[in-house]
């Protein structure tokens, strides 16, 4: 599997660390309430199909990436730097 890092180019999966759903970027306010935090930390859409998840280019440039992928085919559809309009 290869992911095209916006900075480094196409790289082998072994260079990346996987975090999970890109939802992790949408941190609720401290007082957002139990449900909001349950949704944020534990509950997942977990789609069989297109998903957005977070990868860290650990053995590369150290960038956190938002990757749009298909969980059935492993096709990588889009990769953006986290924090740069990726949400």
């Amino acid at each position: 599997m290869r992911i095209t890092c916006p900075l480094c180019g196409a790289r082998d999966r072994r260079e990346f660390y996987y975090r999970g759903a890109a939802l992790a970027l949408e941190r609720p306010a401290p007082d957002a309430g139990e449900q909001a935090w349950d949704d944020y930390l534990f509950l997942r859409e977990n789609p069989a199909g297109e998903t957005r998840d977070l990868w860290y280019h650990a053995n590369g440039c150290g960038a956190w990436l938002v990757v749009r992928r298909d969980t059935r085919s492993h096709a990588v559809l889009e990769v953006r730097l986290a924090g740069e309009g990726a949400q």
Binding site: R13, R14, F42, R44, E45, N46, D53, T71, H74
Partner: protein
């Protein structure tokens, strides 16, 4: 038909013409008391215990493919009860007690082999963590033995004790652990459930779950609508999709775990070895293949196949731990879809919808749980109350923080367990 050595002899002498179907292929009825979505190990075991323990017959198992085609058809067959935390402790202990004697109960040889499970440690810290776990196992009434280097060397002399990157100091030994023939477990439970009148319906994909004023009324399938008073979802890696049919979001992320088998070899590994530092575990099947695996690929996936980095990591770990397997050739690799939960422990519980029940979150440890999970889920479906051995497998534990069972201590990141 009852199986026995005598029957095999008789059939052999009469040209094996008398063998009959191990299960029927019934047409789905318009309605059942209980529908079980998923004809994998857990679903089939649930069906069996519903009939055997609770005397329920008006039950159907709906399987979108073939019976036993889920993770029970593609795992590394390890059976053990070596957990450390309350909740897991009593459950896996219960499950192991059901394994022992399963052949006789099912009249089907699932080839359970209590060849022991070794968890290696490499530092004082790891040793103490295993001692804590082992003591929990003994507190639970199960068996655990602390082996030092020499004791371990006698048991598995072929480990690389001295040159390994992480020298082996000893192991937590669980003699009652071992392996079983995975497909046979599914077939044995299927045959047992079928012979007790339960309908096993293959090639029947559930496409919708019908809910009316907060209660489940049945399901839509590729073979038409089926009504039911109760519905149990037990579909492992597909849990999120099926739950979504009832408008639910689950604390589950689906990941791929690869496993491997080598060409057949004469007996060389007579136990199960687990190498913590390398995420590597191995045993040898009765056919002679080395069956082994490691950690998940670490990205959400429904492809049921993985990639090379995970493959190579497993092989490197194998070479670091036991370089004598180097000349064994990997014959086949495959992947299963693991329903990873936020604390690495499963869920067997009611849902917010009356009559809809959930059994999921087994991560990559579901095989050994098959009898226990079936028994506990059947108990919940039949009585509406949790089985004492599974009372802590609650769906709401993450929201409340009550009774979280994070054996790995890695926190709320689904893929880290």
């Amino acid at each position: 038909m009852r199986f026995s050595g005598l029957r095999v002899l008789k059939e052999g002498l009469t040209g094996n013409r008398g063998w009959t179907a191990h299960w029927r292929d019934p047409e789905p009825k318009p309605a059942y008391d209980i529908l079980i979505i998923g004809g994998g190990g857990h679903g089939l075991a649930t069906a069996y215990y519903l009939a055997q323990v609770h005397g329920l017959r008006n039950v159907a198992v709906l399987e979108k493919g073939y019976l036993g085609g889920g993770n029970i058809g593609r795992n590394t067959t390890i059976v053990r009860a070596n957990y450390g935390l309350p909740g897991n402790s009593e459950f896996y202990s219960h499950s192991l007690s059901l394994w022992e004697g399963l052949e006789q109960e099912l009249n089907f040889n699932v080839m359970q082999s209590q060849r022991g499970v070794l968890n290696l440690f490499h530092s004082d810290g790891q040793r103490d963590a295993y001692v804590r776990r082992g003591n929990a196992m003994v507190n639970q009434g199960d068996d655990a033995i602390l082996l030092d280097r020499d004791g371990l060397r006698k048991r598995v002399p072929y480990l690389d004790f001295d040159n390994g990157r992480f020298p082996v100091q000893g192991a937590l030994y669980h003699p009652r652990g071992g392996t079983a023939r995975h497909d046979a477990v599914a077939w044995g439970f299927a045959r047992g459930a079928d012979s007790r009148g339960i309908d096993l319906i293959q090639n029947c994909e559930v496409t919708g779950i019908d809910v009316a004023n907060g209660a489940v009324t049945g399901v839509q399938t590729s073979r038409g609508a089926i009504r039911a008073k109760k519905v149990g979802i037990v579909v492992a890696g597909r849990s999120s999709q099926v739950a979504a049919m009832a408008g639910m979001r689950l604390p589950i992320e689906s990941h791929v775990l690869q496993a491997f088998v080598t060409e057949g070899l004469k007996p060389v590994i007579d136990t199960v070895v687990t190498y913590g530092m390398g995420h590597f575990y191995i045993s040898q099947s009765d056919k002679g293949g080395l069956v082994f695996g490691g950690d998940i690929d670490m990205y959400a996936s429904y492809a049921a196949r993985g990639n090379l980095p995970a493959v190579e990591h497993v092989m490197e770990a194998g070479m670091a731990l036991m370089p004598m397997i180097g000349k064994a050739r990997v014959l086949r690799s495959w992947g299963g879809i693991m329903d990873m939960s936020p604390d690495g422990s499963p869920i067997i519980d009611k849902t917010g919808i009356d009559g809809l029940y959930l059994n999921c979150g087994w991560c990559y440890g579901g095989f050994k749980a098959v009898p226990g999970s079936g028994d506990c889920f059947a108990h919940l479906l039949a009585t509406g109350r949790p089985h004492p051995a599974a009372a802590r497998f609650r769906l709401d534990r993450f929201r409340t923080g009550v009774g979280i069972m994070d054996e790995e201590g890695t926190g709320a990141q689904h893929n880290l367990h």
